[in-house]
């Protein structure tokens, strides 16, 4: 089911910018068109390009947003999400909790 939907209409998560578009829909109640336009503007890309694996693979590595392959040294998890916070201008709950755990 998950594969069929991804092949038919899914953005592809961190293969492209699917997670970023989802974050704007959920955090700002943005409809799809607005969420894509916002993310595209932040990535300095066209809305068509943010769903393109060939473009987004390098873009995510360059901006340290988390990549889909096991790349030593590339940030993932909280580190990648902290970079996503800065890129999108939003706060992510798990990053806030992580910061609260730090002793200054």
């Amino acid at each position: 089911m998950a594969v069929s939907h991804y092949m038919a209409s899914g953005m592809g998560g961190i293969r492209t910018a699917g997670d970023l578009v989802a974050r704007m829909e959920y955090s700002q109640n943005m409809k799809l068109k607005d969420a894509k336009a916002y993310v595209a503007q932040k990535l300095d890309l066209d809305p068509l390009e943010i769903g393109d694996e060939q473009i987004m693979r390098d873009k995510r590595e360059e901006l340290k947003l988390g990549v889909v392959t096991g790349l030593p040294g590339a940030p993932r998890g909280i580190a990648a999400k902290m970079n996503i916070e800065k890129l999108l201008g939003i706060k992510i709950n798990s990053c806030d909790k992580f910061r609260q755990m730090m002793k200054n």
Binding site: A22, G51, N93
Partner: protein, 356 residues
Amino acid sequence: MAANEYYTRMGDGKRVLMTKDQILADIQAGSADAADMGGIQALDDNDVEALLEIVCDRNRTVGVEPGKEVPLTYDIGQLDFTGDNGNSGNGVDMGRLEAALLHERALGADTFELAHSDYSIKPVKPVISMEMQTMEEIQNEIVIPYFYGAMPNMGLYYAPDGPYGNPADLMREFKIEEAMDQAEKSAQALARDIEYVATKIYDAGADGFNFDTTGAAGDADAVGTFNGVEKLRKACPNAYINVGMAGESVMGIHGSIEYDGQVVAGLYPHQQCKLAQKAGANVFGAVVNTSCSKSMAWNLARAVTFVKACTAVSGIPVHVNMGMGVGGIPMFETAPIDAVTRCSKAMVEIAKVDGV
């Protein structure tokens, strides 16, 4: 197969051959049924033509045009790998961390969620600390938005599983007012449990909460969930909240229970979405049920008609439910990919959903 025939499906997944005229007639009938039931507009000629083209595509799978992709939201969490066939799971035992990361890095998931094996709010209460620990651990590794997901499942509050009288039993004894009273008390308990579980899991770093099959136990279940969402929104203003429904119409088991001055029984997706937004949801999960005895064309046209009316009026994004037996997809455990991809494309391109 004759030259004027097309392979398509029934609502139970069985492959059938239909002519283009037969498919067109079913699309028009399915859309008309939704328009009649919901008091909404039927699909116009352009939409009908587009849907006909999608259903009659000769290729095994279809997809949206580049640039029209949408983010996907999931239900059931890792149970799609680990669960038994009651959850349409694969029965493959693995950790919840591994399952989440496989969805992120191998299956192209845009979002995902953590789930308890019973996938209901109530049984999470005694193990909430374990769920919080797992949420913290997975949030350290995952990049995509990661929710906690569960069904409100108000049936668990009724006898013999819960402390309140079972309205179905009480109504059989003609104790109508007592049945309504017990449903209202159950709804209050559900709202309290939602607040407890959801705020705890948000404290553990969850991006938010996915309420799956809201209203499955009827209108009081929906009201209890909306009230719980309202409490969660007040306690956690930045939580991502998805309210997904159980059916196209809220069942009136109580009959007159209200949310925000609105009787909830009998509401359709274009009306449900407004209450979900009022409660504090960020995204609404519209549901339209599949009829096994009708064709996929009939079911899909009907579902697209309902959901298009919903996306047109919703003030928040709409992620349509498209699992087995909803959204035009056949009621079959291993849903055929020709059917799933056609329904997925139609919902995005014709119903204009913000996600699936």
